[in-house]
Symmetry: C2
Subunit: 437 residues, 2 copies
């Protein structure tokens, strides 16, 4: 290959097979796509060692993508349970899977995942560091942190979350501006703890150039993590969050200088009226880099229903330019998600992404809706099931409650507006009491 990364290829005027795949799937002109990859507005996370990948693009003008989190941990070390989740996530067409494994045979799990997954794979290497080195956090060296990233890169991980924006400057702003929920990013809090315990700069910030070399070599996309992601609507859009975002903007340009692709991670808990402003801020401060949001969760009071609070926030964020949604499940804030939790989270995220795509006018986004609405007008139930985001649930719901009349459903019975309007518009009378049709 006469290029290093997708960005390098795009800048050299080359069209890669990954770009071709993305352009075809999205119906985007290949030259527009190439230009956006060249300028960093679109990322195509595609590690050279991820051979089973079916590449997807993330960024301006493309469909909003979703990510599913899973992985083994001390509380759930069973690889098979997590591989079941992987299979389901793939069946449900999640475009990305983040392996957040933090304990046990993480390498074995990660390798299986990469081998079997056409979806892009992300990791947060710092989660893996403690277990991999079998050392307490404080004792891990800066170089060891970097080495874990290289290990993941070699294995074929497509994007890595790196909290390089939590540097000493950001930490100082955080200390001067008290928060209700401090630092809730898991990786961010671990790094902050390491920095405090060792009185040193964030290793990912200090050795960022070394990190870029690794990412360039394997074409790993850096997903710049937001350690100061707000953990409560109270803390949203505060000095710490915005300070870190400014650092991420600087790190974005440094990555792009080395042809390394970048995504920016974002909130978090955030009131609805702050979301649009945050999308503008990210796109400006980070120079148009794709925005990958976790939520936003629009109220703190609904543990057990955070797939809904985040579907609200995610849909609004996507409408205003977010490119990539991390799913949130009903288990958020309470426990590791089960397979069922995961399914609910995926559906909610897909709804948010699609609703966002309609609003941001992704070409063709409304086609699906129009087909469904046509099927409804025609009372074509089989077609409705086929088009439903979850055909099994839609079918089951109707079958559990059989209507008096085959055409209609039990909601309105013979008062069904579709049924009656069709009759009236054909010049027929309508009957509600009579048993005949």
């Amino acid at each position: 290959m006469n290029y290093t990364t997708q960005m390098d290829a795009a800048r050299k005027g080359l069209v890669t097979k990954e770009m071709e795949a993305v352009a075809r799937k999205e119906g985007m002109d290949i030259e527009i796509l190439r230009e956006r990859v060249a300028t960093g507005k679109i990322a195509i996370p595609a590690n050279k060692n991820h051979h089973s990948l079916d590449a997807e693009g993330i960024g301006e003008g493309l469909r909003t993508k979703i990510n599913v989190n899973l992985g083994i941990s001390k509380d759930c070390p069973n690889i098979e349970v997590e591989l079941d989740k992987v299979r389901t996530a793939l069946e449900m067409k999640a475009e990305a899977i983040m392996d957040l494994s933090s304990f046990g045979k993480t390498e074995e799990f990660r390798k299986s995942l990469i081998e079997m997954s056409p979806a892009m794979i992300g990791t947060v290497p710092i989660y893996d560091a403690v277990g991999f080195y079998d050392k307490e956090l404080q004792d891990i060296t800066a170089q060891e942190f970097i080495d874990v990233v290289e290990k993941h890169a070699k294995e074929g991980v497509d994007f890595v979350t790196i909290h390089a924006g939590m540097n000493q400057e950001t930490a100082a702003v955080f200390k001067r501006n008290p928060r209700l929920t401090n630092i809730v990013s898991r990786g961010g809090s671990l790094l902050y703890a390491w920095m405090e315990l060792n009185k040193k700069e964030n290793p990912f910030y200090q050795y960022y150039d070394q990190l870029l070399e690794i990412c360039e070599k394997y074409d790993v996309t850096i997903s710049l993590g937001d350690a100061c992601r707000p953990g409560s609507i109270h803390d949203a859009t505060d000095a710490s969050q915005i300070k870190e975002l400014m650092v991420l903007g600087e790190l974005t340009l440094r990555a792009w200088e080395k042809n390394v692709q970048v995504m920016i991670e974002g909130p978090g808990h955030m009131a609805i009226d702050e979301i649009a402003a945050n999308m503008v801020l990210e796109k400006k401060l980070c120079h148009g880099a794709p925005f990958y949001v976790l939520g936003p969760i629009v109220t703190d009071i609904a543990p057990g229903y955070d797939h809904i609070t985040s579907a609200i926030g995610g849909a609004i964020a996507a409408s205003h330019g977010a490119d990539f949604l991390c799913y949130v499940t009903p288990a958020e804030h309470l426990r590791l998600p089960t397979l069922e939790d995961m399914k609910e989270g995926i559906i909610a995220s897909k709804i948010a992404a699609h609703a966002g795509d309609i609003a941001k006018k992704v070409p063709g986004a409304r086609k699906w809706d129009n087909e469904m609405s046509r099927a409804r007008q025609q009372l074509n139930w089989e077609k409705m099931f086929e088009l439903a985001i979850d055909p099994e649930k839609a079918r089951r719901y109707r079958e559990e409650s059989k209507p008096e009349h085959d055409d209609s459903c039990t909601m309105c019975g013979k008062m069904c507006s579709m049924r009656n309007m069709n009759k009236i518009m054909e010049g027929k009378n309508i009957n509600i009491l009579r048993e005949d049709d």
Copy 2:
């Protein structure tokens, strides 16, 4: 009493006990409230014959309220099943219940409902007409339609949905502007059918003054129905919908002339990027009358999950000024909701309403969130459960998945950011591998 309706009282400078109750619950200055009731910006649906009512206000500056639909029908004629739903809706603090009964012992059910319910009660009298008169739709006379409204008014119904905006002018606009899903409002389609079959004007439009006399007498709030509520995102914000809204604006002023309180009903299926504009349109064309929306459902493709599609739309609508959300359950478009469906619908609507209240800066709305976030920061699980919108589910989720360490949950285990940040900020070290605390 020396006044007819709440609006009449407010205009005479009188403070009713209902206004006092609303002002106290909302923490709103009583004079501001009275002024808004006088000008129609706030409605307090409170039929003089609804003796068990605990009055709530709907409108500018107040918390967003939610409504639960239920009722007996040919497919579910069991009064006890529906009364169970009523009890649950009341326990879950729904502020309004609409009895959409369309078949069977509707009077018996309605009377029980009014007697037991501190929540305001709404009906759509036209649903009751066919069964009450035991006549096919076409054969019901204009006066009979009005008489059903009077019957409901006498019995103590607080607000009635009246599709008076679907007049011959609106019908003509509808005919000239084809829609994908025509008229999906059940009451609206029945009225349109009646008008077409009888070649007559909408009885509620033609005899609107008579209707106003009834509403004034009992202080029934008119909820002006939107027959042209879009049934697909394709049909949203179209000529029919806006034409009808203009008629509703005229009818609003006519009602206010008679001191009759008004709410305006609204969409429906609608893409996210159209919602804000629709809120502006309603508030302008209908002179600041409270807006009562059904959804909006932001994509058509998710039958089985329309509590989520409508939570997205409802939260956005509320953020931009909608005052009252009609709940939507997972059963929407598929069947009558079960008790479980109803619960899911109520929670989703309450989330949307609360998220909207935060965004539209209803005083005190953030307090609940801040208390939850403080409990999270302190890892005070009992407090979190107590504050959760559904304490039972939150507790069950955590208990089904016990963590290795009591403080944390299985999501992050000892990598819990709350746990580790609390330690670091107290100057302590953190341990992830070691078994001791």
